[in-house]
């Protein structure tokens, strides 16, 4: 501790800005980690809490995916002796039309039986409503709301409030206000209770329920009841405790969670580089100090410990500040995540409370400290290895020996061969990720040799530009590869990451644009909400023929989507008239024969699957898919695999007739409308709105609206990637600035000698500028080279373990071209900043200490 106070603290005080920058790396990483996780947890917690509060005394819930099931299922469940109570439920998140209130969760129940499951404790209102539910039933516009919601909106008993229904905006009457707590606290208090049969009409559910809540007979175990219900209804139904809904939700948003984790890891990775760079500089700057300590009797262990403790403290302080920042960040991010989840998955959430989980904070601080110590490990090891004799001789630097370089090259060749073998013969995830890690480590080992060779290759060019300064700049890099190799490695990794991220962003974007052009080519889309993913309301099938009669419409295709369970996880079933799709939006399969695919799928003899579903579940043409439907297990072969970006967890495309038959569901979510030649989209849109005004809640979106919406969502999703790219570029720039700092400190003697023998200040400056540009060039070349390999792995990771989306390899040439002036320009600017000090007072001040000769 004494050494920390005597040696480390004065250094920190002298280099306060750099010390803060070092800590900033950890602050950034931990803040992103805590922020993302806390926000994620808040959203998950809000979902779990809503499920829990709504469940009441429910033991089991029966559902059949999103599509729901017929009313008759209720009677069958009620008939089981293991079931004491079984009540129907419809649950929908709707817009209220009240300003600033967002979504309102409507829980539609049958009050006649529901009171034995849920406690409707009233604060005010007509108790008769509860005592005699027929009163509630007789008035289908009745709503029961929470006191928080009523207070926020100035509502009282018999107040009227607007709510979106299948038939447009309707007025509802508040008949009762619940007491606070319990059920009333679900969904952040934005909860309303209504009659389930009224809800069928309001939400266009037909004669269907979303689920049945069950309480088991006394003396019967929940598991026994579950088995009995499952046996009765068959595999098309999911029967489980309310908590299983939370698991479904978690698996649904798993892609998002993984993306958030990757962002946190990346932020920490960046932080690691900043710390590595800062400590590498500190070791160089403090080399004579270390030499003195070693001469005075400090052991290598003491020196190493000194630096590691410094990094641990920096990590702790950074983590602490980062954790606090993360908590603040989480409050803002929770709303963003909830919005993103609603946009992408169609699930409305209200994450009002962001809890500070002590275990998460402790883990984040531990992780921040570990990252910091890990990053400082190499510089600390180098500090411990400082030769006191050389350190005390001013101007001397330990050069990387030829032997050391040879060993590194051999190790790199060995690891490189290992990575190629993993790539060629490895099938498992371990082999793949092992190969990826080997490639990165091999590149790092090879970086010093490659940097040396590139510097040697650059020497003639630099010499040609400026004979003396150019040669000195190149020789500086050649003679001190250890000084340069750290930064070149950091630059290389940062730029490789930039290329990987930009490549996948560009590839995904391009692929989505292609998909939009081929698959989403109707002129107009008629939906029940502005958000294409929300499926709260549905259209009746009868709307199709009515639409076809509207002048200017040539063709109408009906789409019904529902999330169902497949192999234990959620996937999206999209039902359309395949024959119509084959005619209007024909896509070339990535696997299978195009003609057979459309013929068999249109005849209901097979399904088409998206490439991400095929990748995630290892599906191929000919494999038989087993999908749980309310009428039983649907078995159909895969007849083709197509590129499809509809859903991150995979899509099964089937003919509408198959869906209607097996799900007993003829509702429609979206009408795809093709215009007759010469018809104007705005005119037809007006006619549609006019035709259904007052009778249907619908939105008519043009092709451009839909494309803009999807691309906006894509950009929102890729937003994190763009931020990561910007941070990686910043780190790369920081690396160059750091190298120059080290270089100037190292070459103080040489620069002094140059001036002493007659070099003018501008000549010294030119030497440093050229060295900076050379470092930038070397880092850029190696970064782009490793980036081209990294992009391949990043695309594989996304396809294998993230979304299963296969994005074609495409090197981001434009970005790479942009990086050339950015990196070289930044190198030059950082050199300008540095040499201002060299040419001016700095050198004059230091000059007295520079021994010439």
């Amino acid at each position: 501790m004494m050494l920390l106070g005597l040696i480390s603290w004065p250094y920190v005080r002298r280099h306060l800005v750099r010390s803060l920058l070092t800590t900033l790396g950890i602050v950034l990483g931990v803040a992103v980690f805590v922020g993302m996780h806390s926000a994620n947890e808040a959203v998950l917690y809000a979902f779990h809490r809503t499920v829990d509060r709504i469940a009441g005394a429910t033991h089991l819930q029966v559902s059949a995916g999103e599509a729901g099931f017929d009313e008759e299922v209720l009677e069958r469940v009620q008939s089981l002796p293991e079931v004491r109570v079984a009540v129907p439920v419809i649950e929908a998140a709707v817009d209220t039309g009240l300003k600033g209130q967002g979504s309102l969760l409507v829980l539609a129940v049958d009050l006649t039986g529901d009171r034995s499951l849920r406690d409707y404790d009233l604060e005010s209102g007509d108790e008769e409503l509860i005592d005699d539910p027929l009163v509630f039933l007789a008035q289908p516009d009745s709503l029961m709301v929470t006191p928080e919601f009523a207070e926020r909106n100035g509502l009282d008993i018999n107040s009227r409030m607007p709510m979106w229904t299948m038939e447009g905006e309707k007025q509802f009457t508040i008949r009762a206000v619940m007491r606070s707590g319990g059920l009333a606290s679900a969904f952040g208090g934005n909860l309303a209770i209504m009659d389930v049969y009224a809800a069928q009409k309001v939400f266009g559910r037909g004669r269907k329920f979303d689920r049945i809540d069950v309480a088991v007979t006394e003396g019967v175990t929940v598991e026994r009841a579950r088995v009995a219900i499952q046996r009765l209804l068959g595999p098309g139904f999911q029967v489980g405790p309310p908590s299983s809904r939370g698991q479904e939700f978690e698996s649904l948003v798993s892609v998002y969670s993984i993306t958030a984790n990757i962002s946190s890891a990346f932020a920490l990775f960046i932080g690691m580089f900043i710390i590595y760079n800062s400590f590498a500089i500190a070791v160089t700057q403090r080399r004579s100090e270390i030499g003195i300590l070693r001469a005075l009797g400090a052991t290598r262990g003491q020196v190493r410990t000194l630096f590691l403790v410094e990094s641990g403290i920096a990590g702790f302080v950074g983590s602490l500040v980062g954790a606090m920042g993360g908590i603040l960040l989480a409050r803002g991010v929770a709303g963003f995540i909830a919005g993103l989840l609603q946009g992408v998955y169609g699930i409305a959430q209200r994450a009002d409370e962001v809890a500070t989980e002590p275990r998460l904070i402790a883990f984040a601080i531990g992780m921040g400290m570990a990252t910091s110590v890990l990053a400082a490990w190499l510089p600390a090891r180098n500090a411990a290895r400082v030769d006191p004799v050389q350190a005390l001789q001013k101007g001397k630097y330990q050069v990387l020996s030829a032997g050391e370089n040879r060993i590194r090259r051999r190790a790199a060749a060995l690891l490189g061969a290992g990575s190629v073998l993993c790539l060629l013969f490895g099938r498992s995830g371990w082999a793949f990720y092992g190969g990826y890690a080997l490639t990165v480590v091999a590149s790092l080992l090879l970086a010093p040799s490659l940097a040396l060779w590139l510097a040697e290759a650059l020497r003639p060019a630099l010499k040609w530009i400026r004979p003396v300064e150019g040669a000195l700049a190149a020789d500086s890099l050649i003679q001190a590869p250890r000084r340069t190799s750290g930064t070149v490695a950091a630059l290389m990794l940062s730029l490789a990451q930039v290329i990987g991220l930009a490549g996948i962003a560009r590839g995904s974007y391009g692929s989505i644009v292609d998909w939009l052009a081929t698959a989403l080519n109707p002129d107009l889309f008629i939906t029940t909400s502005q958000n294409l993913a929300t499926r709260t309301f549905h259209f009746p099938e009868s709307m199709g023929p009515e639409l076809r009669k509207i002048p200017g419409i040539a063709d109408v295709q009906m789409v019904r989507s529902a999330r169902v369970t497949f192999r234990g996880g959620p996937v999206m079933v999209v039902s359309v008239e395949i024959a119509g799709i084959a005619k209007r939006a024909r896509r070339r399969p990535v696997e299978g024969n195009e003609r057979d695919m459309y013929r068999l799928a249109a005849a209901g003899e097979g399904v088409i699957v998206s490439d991400n579903l095929a990748e995630l579940h290892q599906l191929h043409v000919g494999d038989v898919l087993e999908i749980a439907a309310p009428t039983g297990l649907l078995r159909l072969p895969v007849v083709g695999v197509v590129l499809d970006w509809s859903d991150q967890l995979g899509t099964v495309l089937m003919d509408r007739s198959v869906f209607t038959r097996h799900w007993r569901d003829d509702l429609v979510d979206i009408f795809r409308v093709y215009l007759a030649p010469g018809a104007s989209a705005p005119d037809v849109k007006s006619r549609i709105l006019e035709r259904f005004a007052g009778s249907r809640r619908l939105f008519v979106l043009t092709n451009r609206d839909v494309r803009d919406y999807i691309l906006r969502l894509t950009n929102q999703w890729l937003g994190l990637t763009y931020v990561q790219i910007a941070v990686a570029v910043l780190v790369a720039l920081l690396g160059i600035v750091n190298t120059l700092t080290v270089s100037i400190i190292d070459r103080r003697r040489e620069l002094g000698v140059l001036q002493a023998v007659g070099a003018l200040r501008h000549q010294v400056r030119h030497t440093i500028w050229m060295e900076a540009i050379a470092v930038g060039t070397v880092g850029l070349v190696l970064g782009l080279a490793l980036g081209s390999v990294n992009l391949y792995y990043v695309l594989q990771v996304a396809a294998r373990d993230l979304s299963g989306m296969r994005v074609a390899y495409g090197f981001p040439v434009t970005l790479a071209l942009w990086l050339v002036p950015i990196m070289l320009g930044a190198s030059f600017v950082s050199a300008l900043v540095r040499t201002r000090r060299v040419g001016g007072a700095w050198l004059a001040r230091r000059g007295a200490r520079i021994r010439v000769g």
């Binding site: 004494m2 050494l3 005597l6 040696i7 004065p10 250094y11 002298r14 004579s288 100090e289 030499g291 003195i292 300590l293 070693r294 001469a295 005075l296 009797g297 400090a298 052991t299 290598r300 262990g301 003491q302 006191p388 004799v389 005390l392 001013k394």
Partner: protein, 224 residues
């Protein structure tokens, strides 16, 4: 106290350099020896080998009965820490530490408690007549004063061996004479074995024994 047997030091670079060539030497406890020779003759290398800062390529260096060859880096550090005090030409004081902190630094490295280390440092600064400058930073001192602080630091553990590399080389003649007087006085009072590398013949002749090196070889061992 110090014994060198056939000690050689070779630096392997593009052109290998033999810095010391088969040096055999014995220095008894309490002796005060100067080492002279032209630049590049191997004086500093010899001092580094004896101080355990560097290792010999061949031969044997024995310090106070302990062979240095074959010792690990930590072993060499322990010998340095327990038996040797260094005085450098450029003082090598840590600029951010006060005189008191600079002198107490070797004691902290040995794990001494703060109060005890400061008390010893205070005594030593008094000994080198800098008792009034304990809280000053090196930048606030003259060259001679800085060298006095460096001497106090070298004495902090009362080492049996003191190695001085050009202790007056960075000082004017008058200040250098003062430092030489101090070193001689301390040698007389503390009885440590003292080796002084120097170009200055005044310094060299003030020592009872002088070793002359040329091209890495011991060419003369003169006693007065």
């Amino acid at each position: 106290m110090i014994r060198l047997a056939d000690v050689s030091k070779r630096f392997n670079g593009k052109r290998p350099v033999v810095a010391l060539d088969r040096i055999t030497l014995a220095i008894d406890r309490g002796e005060m020896v100067s080492i002279v020779g032209p630049s590049g003759s191997g004086k500093s290398t010899l001092l580094n080998l004896i101080g355990g800062l560097d290792s010999a390529t061949a031969g044997e260096v024995v310090i106070d009965g302990r062979k240095l060859s074959g010792l690990s880096d930590d072993g060499l550090t322990r010998v340095r820490r327990d038996k040797i005090g260094f005085i450098f030409q450029f003082f090598n004081l840590l600029p951010t530490l006060s005189c008191l902190e600079n002198v107490s630094l070797p004691l902290h490295l040995r794990g001494w408690p703060k109060r005890k280390a400061r008390a010893r440092a205070g005594e030593l600064l008094d000994l080198v007549q800098l008792g009034a400058r304990v809280d000053h930073l090196p930048d606030e001192l003259s060259g001679g004063e800085r060298q006095r602080v460096a001497i106090a630091r070298a004495l902090s553990i009362y080492p049996p061996i003191l190695l001085a590399d050009e202790p007056t080389g960075n000082l004017d003649t008058a200040t250098g004479d003062g430092i030489l007087t101090l070193i001689r006085d301390l040698h007389a009072r503390l009885g440590a074995t003292m080796l002084i590398v120097t170009h200055d013949m005044t310094v060299a002749t003030s020592c009872p024994r002088t070793i002359v090196l040329r091209d890495g070889r011991l060419v003369e061992d003169r006693r007065r």
